[in-house]
C-alpha cells in the first residue's frame, strides 16, 4: 500500500460540509459497520487475518498494534490498525455491486477523500477490501485520481474454517502457532479463540490483550527459539536421545515429541517456565530407559493445560 504524506483536493464533485455536519455524518456512519450481535462476520474474519499478522510482528519486534473498529473521527473505519509509526484504515464491502460513487455523502469516494484530508502525524494507508479479485481489479481501475494512493484488496467472504482450509489465512495463523508445522485443528482453535477475544472486546483492543486470554497452550513463546534450546540441560538431552523410537524437538519455544512415528504430543508450557524445570528434574532423577510406562504417563500429565 502506498504511503500518503500529503492530501490533495479532489477533482470529483465532492460535497462540502461544515464541521458540525461532518460530526453528525460520522456519528450516523459509526452505528453501522461491524456488528457482532449475530455472530462473526466478514469484518471479523478480515480482522482475524490482520490480528494474526500483527501478533507475529508483536512476537518478533515487540510492536503492540492497537486494533479498532468504528473509530470516532475516522471516515474509513471498518478496521483501523494503529502502531507507533503507522495507521492502516480499511473499509470493507461484502457486496456484489460496489462503486466508488461520485463523491456524494455516503459514497466510498467521499469517505476515502475526507479520510485523506484528515491531518495525521503518522504514515496513513487507506485500503478498500472486497470479496473477489475481479471486483478488486475493477475498483482499482476505476479509482478516482485523487485516491490514487489508496489500495484495493480482495479478501474472500467465507467462514473461518474454509479460510484456513483454502489457505487464505493459514499462513498468517501458522506464524503464531506453538510449532512450525501446526495441525489443521490447532489453526482452527487459534482462530476461534482470537475471534472470540476480538468479539468479546467489541472490536477494540491491543494485540497483547487479544493474545492474553486462553491462547497460551496454542501459541508460540515470545522468546527466540535458540534461547529455548539452551534451556534443555545436556544430561536431559542425553537421556532423551537414548530412548528407543523416541524423537524430540524444541520449536517455537515448546518441547514436542513423537514415539514410534505414531504418538505425538507437546508440553503445555514453554521451555522458559518453571514447569519445564520440573520436567527436567524428573527426567534426571528417574532416567527413563523407554517412552512407554512411567515416562509416557508423566508426559501425559505435563501435556495438559
Amino acid at each position: 500500500m502506498a504511503k500518503i504524506r500529503k492530501t490533495k483536493r479532489s477533482s470529483f464533485a465532492f460535497q462540502t460540509f461544515t464541521a458540525t455536519q461532518l460530526l453528525v455524518y460520522l456519528s450516523h456512519k459509526q452505528t453501522g459497520g461491524a456488528s457482532f450481535a449475530k455472530g462473526y462476520n466478514y469484518e471479523a474474519t478480515f480482522a482475524l487475518k490482520n490480528i494474526a499478522e500483527a501478533a507475529d510482528v508483536y512476537f518478533e519486534l515487540g510492536i503492540d498494534a492497537d486494533f479498532k473498529t468504528q473509530c470516532p473521527g475516522y471516515f474509513v473505519d471498518d478496521l483501523v490498525i494503529e502502531t507507533p509509526n503507522t495507521i492502516n484504515c480499511f473499509q470493507l464491502k461484502n457486496k456484489k455491486f460496489i462503486q466508488w460513487g461520485r463523491g456524494r455523502k455516503g459514497s466510498l469516494a467521499f469517505d476515502f477523500a475526507y479520510q485523506l484530508r484528515q491531518p495525521q502525524s503518522k504514515l496513513v494507508d487507506l485500503c478498500l477490501v472486497v470479496p473477489s479479485v475481479k471486483v478488486a481489479r475493477r475498483l482499482a481501475q476505476k479509482k478516482p485520481i485523487t485516491l490514487s494512493s489508496c489500495s484495493v484488496l480482495a479478501f474472500p467472504a467465507k467462514n473461518f474454517v474454509d479460510l484456513i482450509k483454502d489457505g487464505d489465512i493459514s499462513d498468517s495463523l501458522s506464524k503464531i502457532a506453538n510449532s512450525s508445522n501446526p495441525p489443521f485443528d490447532r489453526l482452527v482453535q487459534i482462530a476461534k479463540l482470537l475471534l472470540a477475544n476480538w468479539m468479546f472486546c467489541g472490536g477494540n483492543s491491543k494485540i497483547s490483550s487479544l493474545l492474553s486470554v486462553d491462547l497460551q497452550p496454542f501459541i508460540r513463546s515470545s522468546q527466540p527459539n535458540h534461547n529455548a534450546l539452551s534451556r534443555l540441560r545436556p544430561k536431559v538431552a542425553g537421556i532423551l536421545s537414548g530412548l528407543p523410537h523416541f524423537k524430540y524437538s524444541i520449536d517455537r519455544g515448546f518441547f514436542h515429541c513423537v514415539y514410534g512415528g505414531t504418538t505425538y504430543q507437546s508440553l503445555a508450557f514453554d521451555c522458559f517456565s518453571s514447569e519445564f524445570d520440573t520436567v527436567q528434574d524428573w527426567i534426571e532423577q528417574n532416567a527413563p530407559s523407554q517412552f512407554p510406562g512411567d515416562f509416557e504417563r508423566m508426559m501425559n500429565t505435563w501435556s495438559k493445560g
Binding site: 495441525p183 468479546f200 505425538y264
Partner: protein, 231 residues
C-alpha cells in the same frame, strides 16, 4: 423432558445396554462391558455400510476414554466381518471443551496428544464416540484428521447422539457435511442429566483419563514398531 428414540440399528440387546449405561447403579465393570458390546453392535452395522472394494482402508478415530471399550469392541466386530478392510486406529486425548467467552460458536477442545497409525489419504474415516452431544470434541478430531487425509466418506458413529448434534456439525464444517453419514443406536432430544462418562468408566475426571494410555494403543503401537523393526 428428554425423549429418547431408537434407530433401526438398535436391536433389543442394544436398548438394554443403552439403558444400562444411563443407570447410575451400573458398576464400572458393567459400564465398560456395555460399551464394549455397543461397540461390537456398531461394528457390525458399519461392516454392512462400508462399500466392498480392493485395497479398502478405514481409519477408526476414538477418544482415549472409549479406546479400550467402545472402540475395541467396534474394531473387533469390524475386523471379523470385513477381512477385506485394513483398519487403522487414531486415538485422541482431548481436554474438555469450553465455549470461549461463553460464545457457543467458539467451542474449543484442545488435543493434548494423538496416536495415529499410518493411513491412506482416501481411507474411510469412522469417528467413534460413546455419546455425541455438543459435537465439539468430534469436530476437533475430524478437523485434525482432514488436515492430512481426504476421506470420501466420514461415518460419525455413536451409541447415543443428541438430536441437534448434526446441526452443530453442519455449522462447523459447511460443505464437508455432504460426506458425513451418522450411525447411531439412539437419539436423545436433550442432554441426559447426572451422567458423567469419565466417572462411569472409572476415572475421577477428565484430567485423570488423559493420563491413561489405553491397552489397545500400547499393543497396536508395539506391533507396528516390531513390524517396522523386522521389515
Amino acid at each position: 423432558m428428554n425423549i429418547r428414540s431408537f434407530t433401526a440399528n438398535a436391536d433389543n440387546r442394544s436398548r438394554e445396554l443403552i439403558a444400562a449405561i444411563f443407570n447410575p447403579k451400573t458398576s464400572t465393570d458393567a459400564y465398560r462391558k456395555a460399551m464394549y458390546q455397543l461397540g461390537q453392535r456398531l461394528g457390525l452395522v458399519l461392516a454392512s455400510k462400508i462399500p466392498q472394494g480392493k485395497n479398502n482402508e478405514c481409519c477408526v478415530a476414538c477418544t482415549v476414554e472409549d479406546a479400550d471399550y467402545l472402540a475395541a469392541g467396534f474394531i473387533e466386530a469390524l475386523e471379523q466381518s470385513r477381512q477385506d478392510l485394513a483398519i487403522h486406529l487414531a486415538c485422541f486425548w482431548n481436554e474438555p471443551s469450553f465455549d470461549a467467552h461463553d460464545m457457543k460458536e467458539f467451542d474449543v477442545s484442545r488435543i493434548i496428544k494423538t496416536y495415529k497409525e499410518p493411513t491412506g489419504d482416501k481411507s474411510y474415516l469412522i469417528v467413534l464416540k460413546s455419546i455425541i452431544s455438543g459435537g465439539c470434541v468430534v469436530a476437533t478430531n475430524i478437523t485434525h484428521l482432514i488436515g492430512t487425509m481426504n476421506p470420501e466418506k466420514i461415518y460419525i458413529v455413536a451409541p447415543l447422539m443428541l438430536s441437534d448434534s448434526p446441526k452443530r456439525l453442519r455449522k462447523h464444517f459447511g460443505q464437508l457435511v455432504r460426506r458425513f453419514d451418522y450411525i447411531n443406536l439412539a437419539t436423545d432430544s436433550e442432554r441426559a442429566r447426572g451422567v458423567n462418562v469419565y466417572q462411569s468408566y472409572g476415572w475421577q475426571d477428565a484430567d485423570d483419563k488423559n493420563v491413561a494410555v489405553p491397552k489397545i494403543v500400547e499393543l497396536r503401537r508395539e506391533r507396528l514398531i516390531g513390524g517396522s523393526a523386522t521389515s
